[in-house]
Amino acid sequence: MPEVLQAPLVVEFPFTRSLGPVQSAFLTGLRERLVLGVRTGDGRVLVPPVEYDPVTAEEIHDLVEVAPTGTVTTWAWNHAPRRGQPLDTPFAWVLVQLDGADTALLHALDAPGPHAVHTGMRVRVRWAGERSGAITDIACFEAYDGADERADDRADQREPAGHSGEFENPVTGIVAAARLDYTYSPGRAQSAYIHSLGGRRMVGERCPSCDKVYVPPRGACPTCGVATSEQVEVGPRGTVTTYCIVNIKAKNLDIEVPYVYAHIALDGADLALHGRIGGIPYDQVRMGLRVEAVWTDDSRYPDHYRPAGEPDADYDTYRELL
């Protein structure tokens, strides 16, 4: 069995998300160095605030301002920060119940080590230098020695004041970048196919049950549900079974429009694959046209297919492959 192929694969996407009125007020508030919560029907204050009561599903919108200080309700020491996390030095993940809130917010706590962190410790928000209206406007939390101050003015007991939630230039959406890194492996059948292509051979696999030859092979016969294994070389010539004319130029594609994209049944294959047709004006391509693969100098797969210079195939020879 040839070596199974592997290659790096990065999936990256900037998710653009719109905000509801409560989320918008909260994130805009962070931009203005202000933490807002939302009051539920039974008087609890949720921070971070949500649009609907998680218990009753009631729509909620009464905003209140809570303190930027609070108490750690649980924590976990992260000695090896990962990409995208709030701090790149060791830190504690914390759930923090801000003074005036009844629920806790997840964030990072900057601390010298796990010995300096405990449940019940007092912390305060450390604001990011540049803020845009995102949860990361809170850079992290830090230890807060507010015990004496609280003795006089029990900030955590004080009823939080209402807030209109109105700001100039409110944030109405966020762009959340997401990137995940993979090592892609196509598995046994497709690895074998790609290896063959490297030698300019197109090798499919036959189903032991229905005898159909699949190109490219994916390891299973989709109609019989059994493994394909017998390798069968197909092509290099084939028949255009159907086609379309592409009139819109794709980004980063160096091909002039219009061009023809076709389903091609390679000789010996029982399933058509697709490819571009070149070497013939687009308006002369037709069903039944006989074509052959064209390989450019160092390509690992056919660049396109061109007329093979044979008479057209009879319809009955490919009608089952449409």
Binding site: V4, Q6, L9, V11, F15, R17, L19, L27, L46, V47, P48, V50, P54, V55, T74, W75, A76, W77, N78, H79, R82, R83, G84, Q85, W93, V94, L95, Q97, T103, A104, L105, L106, H107, P114, T119, A134, I135, T136, A176, A178, L180, D181, Y182, T183, Y184, S185, G187, R188, A189, Q190, R218, G219, A220, C221, P222, T223, C224, G225, V226, A227
Partner: protein, 349 residues
């Protein structure tokens, strides 16, 4: 419930750290063939097919449609898919059988965690506004729950280590498990959780066949009757939940009838040692219940299949006459956010 429905067959792969030598369908197909062969059924005999998987794991868009090639969808089959653990696919199949439209169902699920970084991949299931931008990985969130349990006096690190050791010890009798026998508890991954408190990362697949009434008796000598099954979810906000408790598990268990009579066996989907502590409490499992005789998710954790494996393992013990009443549990989401409980019984011997 007006129809008796049973798990009549169960199959799973050997769960491995990597399966890069095979594609998803190549990994899955032997399991499908195995479970069908146990009953003598062919794809065409199956009334309904339902699967569970997530494209995020391996970064392969629409992988579940390619996986369907392994079933053989010709003539066209009645089919559905959930982007969830296969235990929820089983739930959907169970409801389909309840309607009386079909008498048999094939349920399968698979997951390949090896191509990506599963700790990071799982952050993408979190609240996209307030939580996902911080990239809190799955171990970090479980560690916050573990610390809350320690603070509450519900457990301590030695007890967690004992859960880890017992699970891998049980797994030494399970040839499919990835971690078997003594495994060092190791260093902290995210304190207070150590390597030993975390599930192994790996790839695998599982499948079960459900059948109703007399059809079940024809296909299996001792069907594992689903006496009750229910699933419940809690709020997504971690800070609004009591992480030391699992009211969703308790309610699902109540609805599934788990508390009507004691079970003798429980297969719990607790990827982290600390979560077994929460589940034992919520399910009121006493020391006389065999918990995770397969080794559980700490011995093999093919994400998206590990919950279905729990139900399959519980059912297989009923099939073999090693259990008369077993509980199967599956979880989804961070810190046991969503939970499914199934109660399985064998006919009196």
């Amino acid at each position: 419930m007006t129809r008796d429905i049973a798990v009549v067959a169960f199959a799973q792969t050997d769960h491995r750290r990597t399966s890069h030598d095979v594609s998803e369908v190549e990994m899955l197909m032997p399991v499908l063939h195995d479970v069908l062969a146990q009953t003598g059924l062919k794809t065409a005999d199956i009334g309904f097919t339902c699967s569970g998987s997530s494209d995020y794991l391996a970064g392969r868009a629409f992988s579940f449609t390619l996986a369907l090639d392994g079933v053989g969808a010709w003539p066209p089959i009645s089919e559905s898919h959930v982007e969830m653990d296969g235990a929820w696919a089983l739930y959907e199949a169970w409801t389909k059988l309840l309607t009386g439209d079909v008498d048999t169902a094939l349920v399968y699920s698979y997951g390949k965690s090896s191509p990506g970084s599963v700790r990071d991949v799982l952050t993408r299931q979190l609240d996209p506004y307030y939580v996902a931008p911080l990239w809190p990985d799955s171990v970090a969130l479980a560690a916050l729950q573990a610390q809350a349990l320690i603070d509450a006096g519900d457990t301590d690190e030695p007890e967690l280590a004992a859960v880890a050791a017992r699970s891998r010890e049980h797994a030494s009798a399970n040839s499919h498990a990835q971690l078997r026998g003594a495994v060092p508890q190791g260093e902290y991954v995210v304190r207070p959780l150590r390597t030993g408190d975390c599930p192994p990362i790996g790839d695998g697949a599982a499948a079960v066949i459900l059948a109703a009434g007399d059809r079940a008796r024809e296909l299996c000598a001792r069907p594992a009757w689903i006496r009750g099954i229910d699933h419940r979810i809690e709020a997504h906000g971690l800070g609004v939940r009591d992480l030391t408790d699992s009211p969703s598990t308790r309610l699902a268990a109540e609805k599934a009838g788990a508390f009507d009579r004691p079970v003798d066996t429980a297969e719990l989907h607790a990827p982290f040692t600390s979560q077994e502590v929460v589940l034992r409490k919520a399910l009121r499992l006493h020391d006389d219940v065999r918990v995770n005789p397969s080794g559980g998710a700490l011995a093999a954790h093919p994400v998206m299949a590990a919950g279905l494996v729990r139900i399959g393992e519980a059912a297989a013990r009923v099939h073999r006459g090693e259990s008369d009443r077993a509980l199967g549990h599956a979880t989804s989401g961070p810190c046991l956010q969503q939970n499914l409980v199934a109660v399985l019984e064998g006919d009196p011997r």
